[in-house]
Symmetry: C2
Subunit: 371 residues, 2 copies
């Protein structure tokens, strides 16, 4: 495989120097874009959009037509995998995802199995379609939910503020939860390996709910299975595809996430990115972490906040600018444009040899004025 | 004021040695208790229960009749203060708190003022009534929401998963948010000082939503105002009432919370209590941090989880056992009984001089076998 024409993200993931800080945004293809809403209306529903490879490719590419983003990310949903397991995913308007057949009893857990790969073919076809349309411009990020995060929805039957059912199962029947997580880990690994086989250049694991766990349980019930996924994908795909692991609310556990062998650790907005770098050192890249709500203010505020993150991230190679969570639907696209432009320009100017020379000269000047 | 007959909590808050680890539980008076539900049914509504000092005293004392808890906590709601400001608090069945007049525009923010103390007299009367009925048995904890957490509800108009409106205001109109927080800090300080004047022995500040902020914003918009509250209460009440500060999701900022001069830092269940102790040293007491969902398993599981927390908390004085957040309504009271009994017995046995002697003797024995 040839590297993409813009391989800035891939070099940042390898912690190699880059001319500027690459940027992409979680949920960059989504409801804040009028063209996305138009395509979705045409598709009829969110699931119709996800399951049609051409439409999924179309919306994946929409933000790249507007903004100079350094990566595309597959348009899909983390819950495609449990849907393929037969849980019956559907979306209730204004209420988010629901499963018709959640894992409500021991029998349901016992019957759970890794899905037939054919049931996820529409995702692999979407990856291939996106890859063709990208024509080697920027890398394509594939993704999956973490085994624990998938289990949260599979057990709860939908979204929740506290996922009380899965946490109760963790204490009351850890054996059942481990069985679900083992099946999920195998399924997610196969899913990600297939995304690589169809053209994904980078893989990201979204552990949206790992932050609800105790420090110990996070290790046993979330991180251990993420590690299994990464190990299996590495073996299955035979190539060293770079990986990003993101646990929302996982700011206390960044060192442990870095120890999984991932290429980059995703950082949420609650964590100081400078402190994060100090803690993980230079052994991984970091990705993050603008508060998505900052994008609802003015372009000036967006630039000020982005500048503070570039300051804190420092000059070590291996930093990828992103949000600390997904873009919210009420985000003005102009603010996204301002962000992408600013991050590129400002990070470039921080690296400019002339500026370094001037700064050195001015420091020398100050020094000589002291004579 | 004479110390209560059981002053274990007060000594732990001063980091003095105690015979056992004191325990109380956030939301210990609540829906998991049939007697609470009976009183609430009699009152007619949650607000009727809060505003009737005799009924509030009755439910405050209910858990103490069942369990050997080391403290009572005022039965009330954090939103009494904004209600007294005229925002119109009411509760929608199954949906939680709502304000009829949230802070939706600049005019509403400009008009906001510290409430007439008479509008909160029912709370002070409840404190006095509870204090009388406690008859000096255990200390009474008074409490308030943090200025930031109150602002979350006041701006959003009710609960939320992400409090997007307050976070947007933080970026778009920080001046408005600072004005709200200043008024809240003054109101909360006066409220807590009055609780002390009416008999509260300990004060707790609940910062339920500070964990939604960036590390920087947490300092400017939440912690700074908590510090203001603590400073004003100290000056207003003229006595050194012990204080507990709890930021849910604040595990990354424990040192900064300890620096406010509070007596104890509340720790949520996501944070390892041993790591917390290492980080804050011995300059404050710590309170926490069993996952409330662990109380939905069996008594054996409860004991195992509690034992792990006692292990991690170590032997430094200044540890108060609690949950990492409030008890959930589906908690079996028998599990709470098992928890309280276990924490008392197990922590007592960890301190027993005989056990220390035996351990020293056995160590000496091992030493001499090496001759």
């Amino acid at each position: 495989m040839n590297p993409p024409q813009n391989d800035t993200l891939l070099r940042a993931l390898r912690r190699e120097p880059t001319e500027y800080t690459p940027i992409w945004l979680m949920r960059q293809a989504g409801r804040y874009l009028p063209e996305y809403n138009a395509t979705r209306a045409r598709a009829g529903s969110f699931m119709a959009l996800c399951t049609d490879p051409d439409l999924a490719a179309e919306v994946t590419l929409q933000p790249l037509a507007r903004f100079a983003l350094d990566a595309a990310i597959l348009f899909s949903d983390i819950l495609t995998v449990p849907d393929a397991m037969g849980l019956g995913l559907h979306f209730v308007e204004g209420e988010g995802p629901r499963f018709s057949r959640p894992l409500v009893d021991e029998q349901a857990v016992a019957s759970l199995a890794v899905p037939d790969p054919e049931r996820l073919r529409y995702v692999y076809d979407a990856v291939a379609a996106i890859k063709r349309e990208l024509a080697g411009k920027v890398p394509l990020i594939g993704f999956a939910g973490s085994p624990f995060t998938l289990a949260c929805y599979m057990i709860e039957g939908g979204g929740s503020t506290d996922f009380a059912r899965v946490r109760r199962m963790l204490y009351a029947r850890p054996d059942l939860l481990h069985r679900i997580l083992s099946v999920n880990a195998e399924a997610v690994a196969a899913y990600l390996a297939q995304q690589v086989a169809h053209g994904a250049d980078v893989l990201m694991v979204f552990d949206t709910w790992g932050g609800l766990l105790t420090s110990d349980s996070y290790g046993h019930f979330s991180l251990a299975y993420i590690r299994t996924v990464l190990d299996r994908v590495r073996r299955a795909s035979g190539v060293a595809t770079p990986t990003i692991v993101f646990t929302k609310g996982g700011g206390q556990w960044l060192e442990r996430i870095a120890d999984t062998g991932c290429s980059a650790v995703g950082v949420d907005w609650m964590t100081d990115i400078g402190a994060a770098r100090t803690r993980v050192g230079t052994r991984v890249a970091l990705q993050g972490n603008l508060d998505p709500l900052a994008l609802l203010a003015t372009p000036d505020v967006v630039r000020t906040q982005a500048s503070a993150i570039l300051d804190a991230a420092g000059t070590s190679p291996g930093f990828i600018f992103n949000l600390g969570h997904g873009i919210v639907p009420s985000t003005p696209p102009d603010n996204v444009a301002a962000l992408v432009e600013f991050v590129h320009q400002d990070s470039r100017s921080r690296r400019r040899p002339a500026a370094v020379g001037q700064s050195a000269a001015s420091r020398a000047g100050t020094g000589s004025s002291g004579h």
